[in-house]
Amino acid sequence: MLEVRGLCKSYGSRQVLFDVSFSVKEGEVVGFLGPNGAGKTTTMRIICGLMAPDRGYARIGGFDVLEEPRRARALLGYLPENPPIYEELTVREYLEMASQLRGLRGPSRRRAMEEAISYCGLEGVLDRLMMNLSRGYRQRAALAQAILHSPPLLVLDEPTLGLDAVQMAEVRSLIKGLKGRATVILSTHILQEVSATCDRVLVINRGSIVADDPYEVLEERLRGGIAFSVKVQGEVGPFAERLGSLEGVARVELRGEGEVLVQSRAGFDPRPEVASLAVGMGLKLYEMTPVRMSLEEVFLKLVSEEVRGDGDMGHSQEGA
């Protein structure tokens, strides 16, 4: 559906994309994840043919976005970073204009508008001027515009930027509902978003793709080993020290009042050893609970990892 090969782009002397390549198969929902300034928007703009790369190309459905822009764009629905709204138009006029620009006519146009309106829940605001809409409704109207012609490919650039929690959840569920109807690529710097909506995650940092995995694999890969907290009664200090020298333990962290956080190396599960150590030292072992690393932590790890040029995911927190 979408093929991106070898994109390089510089703004003046600052290079923002370094050989970015990936492809998206039909029906996939792909998250394009990266910190601010990583090159997400630039890549999105290149995909939509709004900007020419210095090198490389983007093809939608086999059509090069610069060489055959009309055919490529006909397959595309685009939601830019800032909702593209015309303050002086009503929602209905806005969608009418978009459908005209899409070349929809007559009954098929009416049907397309009705579907987009009901999908995005815009019935109540159709005759309101867009300048009077809340940010959430503006975003929905912009999304309605993007899905109006049932495009096979949807490019959503930071679709939840600037929304409050409720609006965010609404927009996310709208995106989730698109699964199976269109191929979606959405950029975000929020981790929850990819976990909430995407099958596959592309991680971009400083203009390069640093990971391209299904969400679960990414999480696993980032997680490396397992993390668990140990609650004991007794002298925690020496216990923690001894823990650190156990095989398969990457990191030990004291968490106050008899609690220790243990992070294992990838492929190790040192829980039995930890338990026997505690008992062997005469401590009372109350609890051993796995701790899910929050994805935010994972992300920080991924990105800082690449910055240091350390490719081995599993050992990143060693000595941190």
């Binding site: 939509c48 043919g49 900007m51 020419a52 006909a74 830019p80 015309y86 899409r102 070349g103």
Partner: protein
């Protein structure tokens, strides 16, 4: 198809915002006052002219000054009318939105251009009330009226195209209108140098041919020349084409 969708959207924006109304209204008010001034001048002087048998074409006295003044007003009117067309879309980021549609730059430029031309046509058509009103009390030289209107249409068409170009070059409406005004004013005064150099020198002749005044003025005297029509139309086409180029080049820059 794309052209019409764009033009309709722009017209809605023009007439839903106070911009078009204020501009059309103010222009008509101003020109109405000038018409009354010409009428007063005519009323005071007509008895003398008839007493001395001076041949006077009332259309020339009453209407020609109004049309000539509109030609001058266009220097300000055109940049103000067209400044928002691209600049505001660039500022709000909606230009990307439009460019993501399967609509080429030519349709985009023409659609926007046509919308500003329609607003301007509203002014010209409303102004026809003046010759119509004049015809109630006397004979109107419709040929002269037609030629004046044709001249205004061509000149206005060119000015709006240059205004659009200014707008495509900037994301600030203020900058856009100042740039367009500069372009128009340059076109307006380029012939002054020709006058200084005289008709015999090479550059004098070139600048005369390039001068707006040289081509626009005959229309207000009832002279419709093919050469001047071509001058206006080709410059207009060139300005619009430059707009298209600016839009295309945007992709290769930031």
């Amino acid at each position: 198809m794309g052209i019409w969708a764009i033009a309709r959207k722009e017209l809605k924006t023009y007439f839903l915002s106070p911009l078009a109304h204020v501009m059309v209204g103010a222009t008509l008010l101003l020109l109405g006052y000038l018409y009354l001034t010409s009428a007063a001048f005519y009323m005071v002087n007509a008895p003398q002219w008839s007493a001395y048998n001076v041949p006077v074409n009332p259309t020339r006295v009453l209407l020609q000054p109004v049309y000539k003044n509109l030609a001058f007003l266009l220097l300000f009117l055109a940049p103000l009318l067209s400044m928002r067309l691209f600049a505001s879309e660039r500022a709000s980021g909606t230009l990307d939105f439009l460019m993501s549609f399967p609509v080429d730059e030519i349709s985009l430029v023409l659609g926007k251009y046509l919308s500003s031309l329609v607003v301007y046509l509203v002014v010209l058509i409303s102004l026809l009330s003046m010759p119509l009103y004049t015809s109630l009390g006397g004979v109107v030289d419709w040929g002269l009226v037609l030629s004046c209107n044709l001249g205004l249409l061509l000149q206005g068409g060119l000015f709006l195209a240059l205004g659009l170009l200014g707008s495509a070059l900037s994301r600030s409406q203020m900058t856009a209108s100042v740039m367009s005004f500069g372009l128009l004013f340059m076109l307006w005064v380029v012939g002054f140098m020709a006058q200084a150099l005289g008709d015999v020198s090479f550059w004098g002749r070139v600048l005369t041919q390039a001068s707006l005044y040289y081509h626009a003025d005959p229309f207000f005297d009832g002279v419709v020349s093919l050469r001047s029509t071509v001058y206006f139309l080709s410059l207009t086409a060139m300005a619009l084409y430059l707009c298209v180029l600016v839009l295309r080049l945007r992709r290769w820059s930031w």
